[in-house]
């Protein structure tokens, strides 16, 4: 169980102090798939970094099973938007390196785990390829294998599929769902894509912006596997409506206070642009 209690975080830049997170409290149960959703700048990635231990909060506490988070650790694997695979290692060595860092000493055990997880993401055939030889989707598969192989308690994903084309993303959604159902890891998945969130999550946490806080916490009670039609669209529509005001707020801050949405420019229904293409 991950518990966040009144977490606040600010960054200071040349343009002044920026409150990224303000009094965020959140409890994530073991085995839950939680999607953190919000417009850019709402602090959802910051929140993920805090859970990963890459950053420390100004105020508040973060704990896993009652133990405070003191830094990064192999019990929490992180996947980034960019695969962050190391170009000087082959696919197989990349996954193996993650295992080695996580403290797996036995070489044979490592080798068999590498094989298991590369097969799970269907890239065993490319085990000796180097990173630049892979497509974007393949890189993220390897990154997923690298994240899962040390058997972490928690999988933290920071917009892992955002840079992929729609078809590849669709396939990876199905596969991620399958892997999650088989392993029952706790997953925290950051995205700005409403459909992706509804399709994947047990629960969608919508964050408001400036300062970042939890605006809506919605359980998604739908059977899996989910498609994009029917009930998913129903949830998407409801969450979209809430997101709309936040997007408007961001636009006003980034462009001009007097900014007004043109009719249909900000998504209000599930049939419009943001979150499309899944």
């Amino acid at each position: 169980m991950i518990a966040l209690d009144n977490v606040s975080k600010h960054f200071t830049s040349k343009r002044g102090t920026h409150h990224v997170l303000s009094d965020v409290s959140l409890t994530i149960d073991e085995g839950q798939f939680v999607c953190l959703l919000g417009p850019s700048g709402c602090g959802k990635s910051t929140l993920l970094n805090l859970i990963a231990g890459l950053d420390t909060p100004d105020q508040g506490t973060l704990a896993i099973d009652g133990k405070p988070i003191a830094g990064p650790g192999p019990d929490r694997s992180v996947m980034f938007q960019d695969s962050a695979l190391f170009p000087w290692l082959s696919v197989r060595r990349n996954v193996d390196f993650g295992l080695e860092l996580a403290g797996f000493r036995d070489k044979d055990e490592r080798a068999s785990r590498v094989e298991t997880f590369l097969k799970k993401v269907q890239l065993w055939r490319f085990r000796d390829a180097y990173v630049h030889e892979l497509s974007g989707g393949m890189k993220q598969r390897v990154a997923l294998a690298r994240a899962l192989a040390p058997d972490p308690r928690v999988l933290l994903m920071d917009e892992p599929f955002a840079a992929l084309d729609a078809q590849t993303r669709d396939v990876l959604h199905v596969e991620l769902t399958e892997i999650w159902r088989a392993t029952r890891k706790t997953v925290v998945f950051v995205t700005h894509n409403v459909r992706e969130a509804v399709r994947l999550g047990d629960r969608v946490v919508l964050m408001a912006t400036r300062p970042g806080r939890v605006k809506l916490d919605e359980p998604i009670a739908l059977a899996r596997p989910r498609t994009n039609e029917g009930d998913v669209a129903h949830y998407v529509g409801r969450i979209m409506k809430e997101l709309r005001t936040e997007v408007e707020k961001v636009m006003r801050e980034e462009i001009d206070d007097a900014w007004q949405p043109a009719p249909g420019a900000v998504p209000g229904s599930s049939s419009s642009g943001v979150g499309g293409g899944i």
Partner: protein, 194 residues
Amino acid sequence: MRRLLVGYALSLVGGIGLGLALARSQTLRDSIGTIVTGLQALPSICWLPMALLWFGLSETAILFVVIAGSLLAITVATEAGVRNVPPLYTRAARTMGARGATLYLRVILPAALPAILSGMRLGWTFAWRSLMAGELLFVSGGLGQLLATGRELGDMSRVMAVMVAIVTLGLITEVLFFQRVEARVRDLWGTDRS
């Protein structure tokens, strides 16, 4: 040749070490960063008078000049290389549990390798030049001295032969070592095909 190899090896160790330290510590950059940049502008043969004073007419003096020639080129390249390592690699490695020496040896150094390699190449040629200049000015055997003897005897064929030998040696190391290693790195990084 032995002087060159020993001097270069010492420069490699010192240069990469110093470069890492500079990349890591802001305080160090503020305090000796300027000195490093400034000294880099000084041709290493200018160290010879000092070296002769400190070490006398000995091997060590020549070695010192060789090191003075190549160390800083490697230092500067290493520092730049390490500071240009994408922060994402470091972050990813930290989330996987890498810390301290492991992080540096297994992630940051390999990631900075292309930059360090070009520094090594530069350092190698600087080491050569320093060695030749040192041997020319200060009689202690070696190709440089052969060159000086040739000049004194007016023996131009000897001078030419030594020059050809130097060029050949340079070409051999370049082709046999640096080009191979660089080709391998480009291959891994995928920078050959764009």
